[in-house]
Symmetry: D2
Subunit: 336 residues, 4 copies
């Protein structure tokens, strides 16, 4: 019943998955680890309660080893394609952190390889689909509580951003989550994107276009706006309101506790994405483990990864041109 997992990439997110697979979830064991920095992989293996986990010098060795049943790819994005393709080649289920790959072509190669193999093996790490709030939104929508959807209002705010953050990264690293969510919530493709430029925050360099306001359009005309603001200072704040013809459904903004003090009634805003989505990560990876054990793929697939990258590309085009950009996407094969 225990799935033996190999983890490629032992940076922050990789370490977090190793901890999760080893100490939090049911039915998994990390048996192999690799990292571009092998010393780091060894430290992680030693520290993270994964007795008996081997450290390999290469991700390909992890994938190829007979003892490894399933793969987690948590390297930097440009290396995703290489390892996902290798996992497909070995016919092993692979969980790949988002994005599936940075370019549309790379995503297409993965899709093609998976289809050629004839079996769905890839799950992409869009963990928000496993958040209890977004799930309840989808349940309400599907149940008809709000009528047909017309608009979605999103905000994606983080407290601070490293100085290396570029304007593109607000789309490819941040808004990519909303891009996937809109497709999933609305159950249709996005067909166009416009990136608007509000007044820039003076708290970052003049080169960084931050915040940005994305306007995404679905095939049926639903319009989803997404505020992306990576250094809002006050916390990590994720909002989503889905507006239907007769009602709306929004993410709750509850807090474990409410404090009354000094004239104020105070709830807590999460300090970062880990606090906000830790539970979603756990549910996501448990679902993956369970699907591997059951032999049936589930969750966001390679096509979802390709589609998100295609929409992000349209956003990047609009960011540069200042114009509305149509999304360039192939028709979805029946395989997905």
């Amino acid at each position: 019943m225990t799935v033996r997992v190999g983890v490629i990439g032992a940076g922050n997110i990789g370490q977090d998955h190793i901890r999760r697979l080893s100490r939090v979830l049911s039915g998994s064991r990390v048996v192999a680890i690799s990292d571009v920095d092998t010393a780091r992989a060894e430290q992680v293996a030693a520290r993270l309660f994964t007795p008996g986990a081997r450290v390999h010098r290469s991700g390909h060795d992890v994938i190829a080893h007979d003892d490894v049943e399933a793969i987690v790819v948590a390297t930097w994005a440009p290396a995703h394609e290489e390892f996902v393709l290798a996992a497909i080649e070995h016919n092993k289920p692979v969980f790949c952190e988002k994005p599936l790959a940075p370019t549309i072509d790379a995503c297409k190669r993965i899709v093609a390889a998976e289809m050629a193999g004839g079996r769905r093996l890839v799950q992409v790490g869009f963990m928000r689909r496993y958040d209890s709030g977004y799930r309840a939104m989808k349940v309400a929508l599907v149940a008809g509580v709000i009528g047909a959807p017309l608009m979605v209002h999103n905000a994606h705010r983080g407290p601070s951003a490293p100085t290396t953050t570029t304007s593109d990264m607000l789309i490819t690293d941040s808004a990519i989550h909303e891009i996937d969510l809109m497709r999933w919530l609305l159950d249709e493709e996005l067909v166009a994107a416009t990136v608007l430029r509000p007044r820039r925050s003076s708290r970052n360099s003049a080169e960084l276009l931050n915040p940005q306001l994305l306007v995404l359009e679905s095939a049926s005309g639903v319009m989803a706006d997404v505020e992306v603001f990576v250094n809002c200072d006050y916390g990590y704040d994720i909002r989503c309101e889905l507006v239907g013809e007769v009602g709306t459904v929004s993410l709750g903004e509850g807090s474990d506790v409410v404090v009354r003090s000094a004239g104020q009634r105070i709830g807590r805003v999460p300090s970062d994405w880990i606090e906000r989505f830790e539970r979603a990560y756990d549910v996501e990876v448990q679902a993956w483990i369970d699907s591997v054990a059951a032999g049936e793929a589930s969750g966001p697939n390679a096509w979802d990864g390709y589609a998100a990258t295609a929409v992000a590309a349209a956003c990047l085009e609009s960011l540069e041109s200042g114009q509305r950009a149509p999304v360039q996407m192939d028709a979805r094969p029946s395989f997905y």
Copy 2:
């Protein structure tokens, strides 16, 4: 259409009523003012936009003057009886701040005088009955939204109390509001009271029993607890939840705005009773003016004033004895 009002007592609350009658409400004019300190009355008359308002040396002169159609009594509590009785004698409507009178006997004399006069003339200043929150609670209860009432949970918290505050005053000055409200919400009399003594706050003198926890029982057995806490520091916070057989209704805790800052999601707690109930005072006194103009009494009457004082007396008895005390009250005459 303009009701000519005489105001007796020009302290804080009297001044506030003068301002309200002169500058906020419709259909009233303050034509006469008195105060034990005549100089203060003159300053108030000069300052509060009441051109032409006479200052009398005595409240009795205010009441007796032909030009005065209706009286507001805003003196200290021990003088209420004297002026309310005089107003009744002159057959003039009188708005008396709470409490109607500090003793049961004084209240009974007012009730007897009003009945002897054969016309309802007295409105008691229980302004919370005019608060939109309490009103909506009563509407929900009467509409059957929560089923038959079983319990009420109240909290009455103020930020700070003068050093002259006594243990009795938590009942006679503060909880008196909840006593009246419970009678009004439940539409029945209270029959017993128990005052419990939680741990004292170290922020006041050891003599002051603060906070207190009152348990009031209605004729039908509904149990209402009331936390009274006069120096809670953080604000003026009034709570009420009415628990019925199939649901509950509570005062909302909204705030004009919500601020997100420094990891917090912040609403405002009112700083004092003026901020919390200013609107209720306006509605209350406008209702009084309108009722005077219409020639029909409305609102909390002398019997309500008597009943509240009788329940407060039971609370005081329990505070001293440590035991449950039955409320001693006459049967309600059909006049009320």
Copy 3:
């Protein structure tokens, strides 16, 4: 101390102002009424507790009458200009319902006439500036609580719209409020507008572009989006979140009471604009009465009326062209 008011227009909003001036506010009396339908004016005068109010056959007679000190213009919009200009000619303060006038040129004529007269006489009925929520937002912004403003997110939703509603009216009748508020909150002009078209609601005719998503840009680059949705079915729901560099401030969404019933925790959404903004109307008109009595104009002025119409014109242009439209506006004279 009592301001004698003449009201021109006795339809819904006119009647509401007559009731307010006669029965709710302090310091005013309605002495003259007119309406295009004189019979209606007479019925209103008889019904609305305005004893002694004369009914004139023409608004010009109301304005010209010596007994009338100040004018309320509550006719349909195309007639605003005529009566506002007449009031200016008679040097009488005039409260004009929004919009000041439907066309930019008409607004300019009013501005020119008022400047020629040398005295500010016109207040425009943008009542939301008097809402306690918006006021607290402005206080927070000015106090620096959220840092420099970057974005504003608004929603303006009404439960249902008459079948006569046109696509333009979502801008000129509904969003006009947000247009004025953005100028007032941000204390700067709006310079461009884009109207986006989300999926239409199937609950109205195919000709009606509803909902709409407006994107307004301020001189300093602040971007304000406004969802306008006139038949959202579930209630009258007004939202505003102002996003600054280090925090945000939003309108609260409190409710007088919270009901718990049948698995739900329920607050109330206002049923219409009257419930939502009744208090703002009272405060607004009281402020106007007080300013008339004091002889000093206050509140939204003719320039604000002109500016709102100019921004609305840019929105209408964008609605037709599908493109971003710059706002065409004169430079603000020092008079305002």
Copy 4:
């Protein structure tokens, strides 16, 4: 690293723990199951993904088996003592559902046996200590956010109760949770209890005293009231507000989503204790597994189980006598 667990009792709660240990948590495996109804145990073993789990005819066989490292006791309460004592005898860690035992004497025998063995082996299933809300309340209290505690207001409401529910069970099955929590939050013993009787709900038999209002007093004088209401109809609603000298901290009442529909703004009330505390159960049992693996006991111990039963006994006494009842408890040995 995998703890081999034997589960005694395969009713609802036992099955839930088997599922949790087998399919949700990390580091545990269920290797043995017993139930008074052996057929039920066999069905459960077959159904709940516990391949290889043996079914024993007796809980004592489960405890004695060499392969079993740790025990979960999930039988009915009268059998707890027998199996907990047996586990202590075998020097094996044991997780016992609440209550530790129904009588004070039984609890004392367990405490004595554990002390005689010289090693802490017993964890009692007070799962609310692992709820993120209560934990955050304790963190706020300890951090001094609200000052010294003075009062606690609790409500413990369930939607419906079986007809077999007795008045005693409101204390021993429901309020037992608040009894433990008050001790834990305040970090001191409870010394007296009074049970008040509000008006009974007409929705249950006249014999059932429901709701009840408990008043618990701590050694330092903190007063904690607890409304227990087992058929409130509208949901499973748990409240706690801790009132300190300068502020308060309460459980949040958030909801995954907020729906706006038909004039309402709607959050969800949990439907039952499973929905409300499922996560707390997971965290609790994972903490137990981790403590077993680490060889160090943690969490609510046998003394806590004894103390809760002793306070419940005082409540039962007060329920019968109608009087305040002191808690009869031994002094806490240094062992705990």
